[in-house]
Symmetry: C2
Subunit: 410 residues, 2 copies
């Protein structure tokens, strides 16, 4: 048996100028360094090393690779003291690539164009016919919107978010209320139509990605995002990365059951959280309360606004509808806390304008449903942002997948 110090393999470590080739396990470090630089805007090697708990030598090697690939550049920043030579910081080469992020929405679709540093350089929206479409129709809508936002510029990656069960890895929409058929290979169809690499994802994941890249994620490694719109979605960031589940189908908070044999959900099952909280759930109660009928999506929006106005004006039935939805939202939130113990919960979506949903009494209800450990519950932030945020999240996905693709190339 050979003595350990002579070990052949051990002796081979670090012979080349940049050390051994980066392995599969080490590759995320390169990604981490790149993402750290992008997140901070401009950062010195030593600051990146400190932030990530890496040795300066490791960061130096990774940065050199990223620079050779044309992805990072050096910029001069003034010394904090204001004296001496300018310090050298790292920054992403924004001009290196251009990506498009797109959110297919219920009534309109939104797209943004972003540079490689994540800066938004253009945006466009397109009204959408409410209701399901054929795959080829959806591909044309996407191509139309793509043309409007890209206006002929070369695009390196396109990412698309939509509601439903989306297998991001396979690029396949398993089910969505926007498509007639199940299991549609949307990513491949769009790639073929536009000649651009395409990623797709569930839209709630994109909101979590947007927060990770441009919002709360700059300071936190673990947080949950709950979206309330035409459905109830959830995205979960763990250790600075999106958690997707074994088949990429996790985080269907809207279809967790909060009652056995409960209210009917659009998915056909009963007792789903969104059957108590989503816009269609409020709308069907509003029809009864306000003695209205509603025909299409536009009418439903008007109906909800009217219900909200009535509640504000003191209509007891309208208030009770929001109060009940708020109580069920409290159940959903407390279940997220009891299971995931996140550092922060972000409530996101247009519907968050209906502040009855997260009124003091709904939050008190949530506190009464959360396990009592003697510790403060995680903070809850309300971000009533529009579709642009979702599209920016899609751009983040495009940048992330583009970077992965660039950095895994030999």
């Amino acid at each position: 048996m050979k003595p350990w110090a002579d070990d052949d393999e051990a002796g081979r470590v670090g012979c080349g100028p940049l050390g051994p080739p980066l392995s599969e396990v080490q590759r995320p470090l390169r990604q981490l360094v790149f993402e750290r630089v992008r997140a901070t805007g401009a950062s010195s090697r030593s600051a990146v090393a400190k932030d990530l708990g890496l040795s300066p030598a490791t960061v130096g090697a990774l940065v050199a690779e990223l620079a050779v690939a044309g992805l990072l550049k050096e910029v001069e920043t003034p010394r904090e003291s204001g004296r001496g030579r300018p310090a050298v910081a790292l920054a992403v080469r924004g001009s290196a690539h251009c990506v498009v992020g797109m959110k297919i929405g219920d009534r309109e679709s939104t797209a943004v164009l972003a540079d490689f540093a994540g800066n938004q350089t253009a945006a466009a929206t397109l009204p959408r016919q409410v209701g399901p479409m054929r795959l080829d129709e959806l591909v044309e809508v996407i191509a139309d919107l793509f043309g409007r936002v890209a206006t002929g510029r070369p695009v390196s990656w396109l990412a698309i978010g939509m509601p439903g069960f989306v297998d991001s890895t396979a690029g396949c929409v398993l089910w969505s209320s926007f498509l007639w058929e199940r299991g549609e290979p949307l990513a491949a169809a769009v790639r073929e139509r536009l000649g651009v690499p395409v990623s797709i994802d569930n839209d709630a994941n994109l909101v979590a990605l947007a927060e990770l890249w441009f919002g709360a994620g700059r300071a936190l490694s673990d947080f949950a995002v709950m979206t309330i719109e035409h459905g109830v979605g959830m995205g979960f960031v763990m250790n600075h990365r999106l958690y997707r589940g074994a088949q990429g189908l996790g985080m269907e908070l809207g279809h967790t059951k909060v009652a056995l044999d409960g209210a009917l959900c659009r998915c056909g099952q009963r007792g789903c959280l969104e059957a108590y909280v989503a816009d269609y759930a409020l709308a069907r109660e509003a029809v009864t309360a306000l003695n209205w009928g509603h025909k299409d999506g536009a009418a439903q929006a008007v109906l909800l606004e009217s219900l909200y106005d009535q509640a504000k004006a003191g209509n007891a039935t309208a208030r009770a509808i929001f109060r009940r939805a708020g109580r069920y939202l409290a159940v959903g939130l407390s279940n997220v806390i009891n299971l995931f113990d996140p550092a922060l919960i972000i409530l996101s979506g247009e519907r968050m304008r209906y502040d009855y949903l997260y009124a003091a009494e709904a939050l008190a209800e949530m506190d009464s449903l959360t396990i009592q450990t003697g510790r403060p519950r995680p903070p809850i932030e309300v971000h009533a942002r529009g579709d642009l945020l979702w599209a920016r999240g899609a751009a983040a996905l495009a940048l992330s997948d583009l970077t992965d693709s660039l950095l895994s190339a030999p």
Copy 2:
């Protein structure tokens, strides 16, 4: 601005014989290598490198360090071809250390002694008085059991699992039905009494750890374990590691709400899953159904056995009690699937002997509550193992924390 090739920091990579010192980020690699060797029993450097997607050079360097620390050894294994010199494999030095794992249970407590390779070398049990105790009383129970299993041998680490809200990082029991007071510093108290480093954890986490070390985790990176005993617990393994949450208080599946204003739970809240599924929930219905009274834990066990016998014999009320509990178990399982999308769910605990809980109709109910993606749902395995498994999980925690401590030392 200096050209990249001359970059000072990049040039410093890999100068020493073993490359740069292992950083914080790289330290888990060393742990990964060690755990891979322990999991496989005996494995060659190249097999470990292949399994972990690491370069042979990196594995060689890490293995050399682990050998110098006395944690790994080389063993000769016969060539598969049966000819030539024996191959050299790596194995954990079992004699390097000795740990104790302990599960504090409702009616008895169990401990195992394990060597550094995870082999169980002794076991002991001690009956426990049902009901809450003072901290000093619990410490004496633990010391008594520790003495019976260690019998004077030097122990490097002790890990203890118990039900309740346990902050493993702080070594603090925030709440448990076994202790009168909240926020008890159990780990520090036991460490002071025994002079041994101590870790504590929620007992469901330990079952997940036991599966990770000795069961399903050898083949899978992501799975959920659901325990059904005096309560309903959950452990979740993600990327070969236990997920704990931001404050170490996640996975309280038993206290997620499956009904608003529902059945009363022992935690004082209403609608908790365990208020429909746990033994006390079945027992309180059995009291009504069988027209019994029950006074203490032992009587409750007899009551449950009687209820089960009645159900087997065709008693419609007894059957309906199990059927309802099974339906709520289905709600809990479907919520786990809808949220976590695990590769496997393991149902564990003594109560799993009551096969009415997971009868065909309960599983069919679960299928009807899980989102329909067109993909098969994750497999569900039933492991009706006893307290010994939980204690082995505690031993795994002890080994894990001991290894962390050894490998993070300078």
